[in-house]
Subunit: 460 residues, 2 copies
């Protein structure tokens, strides 16, 4: 077999990169659990007809077939055609319906899994990637305060990751009711059409968007100007609410829907200013997926890496799932873990302090006394210290080299018998400083920062 | 959407079942890391031609196609046909070859991922399931002592899981060199043929196997009897070595290959008797996949659940991977996590102490004072206590019911202002005992056993 080459769009990390990814995953999980989110995992596949319910994603789905089915016989009609899930929302909605009788609502869950999309791979856009989602789903109703909660949980997770070198994040929030209320107040009825054009602002600029609003959405020059003025409003405190309100007043566009949206947006910004100062920013041009979101919407950029796109997005949807009898509204937000980790690694932003878990290599004096080295390792592990035993009773220099190549800080030398037959004391060497001292496997402890590999800013 | 039904062969757990699975995964990971195994994760897909190199698995593979490719245009010839991996060994071998220049050998890795097989689902046999593998792979050579290490690492993980209700395990070990040496010593040259028949012992019994050895493998009645006598030997200490040696001597079948195998098997059993007494048993009828294993082989049964099949298997292979220039021998062992967890849950052997992470629900006195409840939650979380805030400022009875339905042990009541306007003290209630007392969010600590959900034997 010749040396294989990577598959474009299917990222894999070397062991030290995986330590970085694992740290991100552990931090997310710990934060989610501190907030009471229960972990679930769904199967990787869903019936194809369920995956295709949102038409626009049909091109992205990987369809499965069994090899022997290809060889001639078609899948039997009783066997549903399956595809790999392209997000964690569709499977979660199905899980909620399937298990509704066994779940307590409102149900808070997190889910960290791979998803697959058959898209053309680009920087930060993969065919296989890990998402980490939190959602809160209610039965029949879901209070607004969960729309405040979910971005703040993510803000807390990102704050924890700042310590290892994650750049600053900005969670950009908007509220669909504000946009819809404002447009309707202006007299524009094609709300989705307007949002679609506003969504293009970053790509084509305000002049082109203005032209499209007039040409495609039946707006007057003045209405288009108002829409652009709304989209230009942003800010990290509740004064944005006043700005929007006075803009609306100047166009005589105030109304109840707008006020409802502004009250919600204001509550989110006020809570965020207290609990995650500087992280959450109201940005009235965020138009994300507004065809199914019905309240708050979220996008997140890494400051200094804005061209990477959003690393954490979501929103409120009044109908996550429905079985005809019951409707389940929800609010959720999803981190693109692979996109984030890929930037942390390729951008040289973070590194692992070593590539293996072991803090210690126990040297082997001779293959005949390997059991003595194994016993030292067992004693250290019993106190939670990660240890491996040298592969060979080679010269000690080679055994130290074995540790050094892996970034393992300590080498342990079992005591050898002196001339009178009594065993000498064990010794442990810090191979970074060269310092070597007597040690007892029943009590010795490495410095806390050496116990496990850590993830640190690349400069550290 | 009507209520969906489960897909046969694709297991999913409710939140409390996932806590059990997560505990198993965390225990495995922690044990592997204590022994210095580095975690990696490989993509879910491999080129189909790589997956099909072992012919006998061809029927199991799920093949991927992109939906739009189905709609007419064939995948371009530059795009390789992809399938989902059916184990973690094939992807690991590919990973080793692809990254050999960046890895330090011997390379110890663990890998915990889902795999897929398009087989007919049965009890304990799934189409999607989680495996947890450890392997040690060398460049050019790999010392025997790693064949002793890998089952002992697993024995340690199983020992840790015994505390939560896992039944006793028996790790059954054999060595291909023993079988091959013995058969050749008897004068039987069709070693693989003999092993294939011996592998049927549990299913069809010794008489039928004896008949097949004579009919299919050219054995005499006497040779068949010797093969069955070898397969009948088992034991947890080094006396098995003597038993095999004297059996071989009685047939004049002793030879160098047999002695090499017996020395290895003896070393494994001796080490295991010391480090995992009673867990590892030599069983000379274990013939597992002996077409590519070349030394030790392992299978593991849950005592009292033998009909479930092996929950942890593996062995030594002289050629895990080869790029023509370099050969990479390895030894590995793999836990069938889904099979194990499915039995723990369906057999009512273990349970989680609650279905959500939260130890505390902070009650909300009125929606106007929700921020005060949020502040309590933040203060508790800052000290690592998992907390959620009640969904609604309902009557306290309903808020207690919210906690009770989820098994959350504590409800926290923020102090309300007295007649003179000064706030009263917060109180916390253990809803199991009904005991309620003053508490300070800056210092209160739940009992350690209530902090996180625990996994315990179902009777506990």
């Amino acid at each position: 077999m010749a040396r294989p080459t990577p598959l474009s769009g299917f990222p894999e990390w070397l062991p030290d990169g995986r330590i970085v990814e694992q740290h991100v995953l552990d931090t997310l999980r710990h934060t989610f659990e501190l907030h009471g989110y229960a972990g679930i995992e769904t199967r990787a596949v869903e019936p194809l007809d369920q995956l295709l319910r949102k038409g626009e994603t049909s091109k992205e789905v990987y369809v499965l077939s069994r090899l022997q089915a290809e060889a001639g016989d078609r899948p039997s009609s009783s066997e549903k055609q399956l595809g790999l899930h392209f997000d964690l929302t569709v499977p979660f909605a199905r899980y909620v319906l399937e298990n509704a009788g066994h779940l307590a609502f409102p149900f808070k869950r997190y889910q960290i899994q791979k998803v697959w999309r058959g898209e053309r791979p680009q920087d930060g856009r993969f065919r296989e990637f890990v998402q980490a989602d939190i959602d809160v789903v209610g039965a029949g109703e879901l209070p607004y305060h969960y729309e405040v909660e979910v971005p703040l949980v993510m803000a807390e997770a990102f704050a924890a990751l700042r310590a290892v070198g994650l750049p600053e994040v900005r969670i950009l929030v908007n509220n669909r009711r504000v946009a819809e209320g404002f447009y309707r107040g202006l007299g524009l009825e094609d709300v989705e059409g307007v949002l679609r054009q506003i969504d293009k602002l970053d790509k084509i600029g305000p002049e082109a968007v203005s032209g499209l609003l007039v040409a495609e959405c039946g707006a007057t020059e003045d209405q288009a100007k108002a829409c652009l003025a709304l989209a230009a409003i942003s800010g990290a405190d509740a004064t944005v609410v006043d700005e929007v309100r006075s803009l609306a007043a100047s166009y005589g566009a105030g109304n109840e829907l707008l006020e409802t949206g502004l009250a919600e947006l204001g509550a989110l910004i006020t809570a965020a200013a207290e609990r995650a100062p500087g992280v959450v920013v109201a940005d009235l041009k965020i138009a994300r997926g507004l065809d199914y979101y019905t309240g708050s919407v979220y996008e997140t950029v890494l400051v200094g890496h804005e061209q990477l796109g959003s690393v954490c997005s979501g929103g409120r949807y009044d109908t996550l799932a429905s079985d005809g009898k019951n409707t389940y509204p929800g609010v959720g937000i999803s981190v693109g873990v692979s996109r984030l980790v890929s930037r942390l690694l390729s951008g040289g932003l973070v590194r692992a302090t070593r590539s293996v878990p072991s803090a210690v290599v126990v040297a082997v004096t001779s293959e005949e006394t390997r059991a003595a080295s194994d016993a030292v390792a067992t004693a250290l592990r019993a106190r939670g210290i990660p240890v491996e035993v040298a592969p060979k009773a080679a010269k000690f220099g080679k055994q130290i080299q074995y540790a050094d190549r892996r970034g393992i800080p300590f080498v342990w030398f079992p005591g050898t018998a002196g001339e009178d037959g009594t065993p000498g004391p064990d010794q442990v060497k810090d191979i970074r400083s060269g310092e070597q001292s007597d040690a007892d496997a029943a009590t010795w402890q490495p410095p806390a920062e050496d116990l496990w590999p850590r993830v640190v800013p690349a400069g550290a």
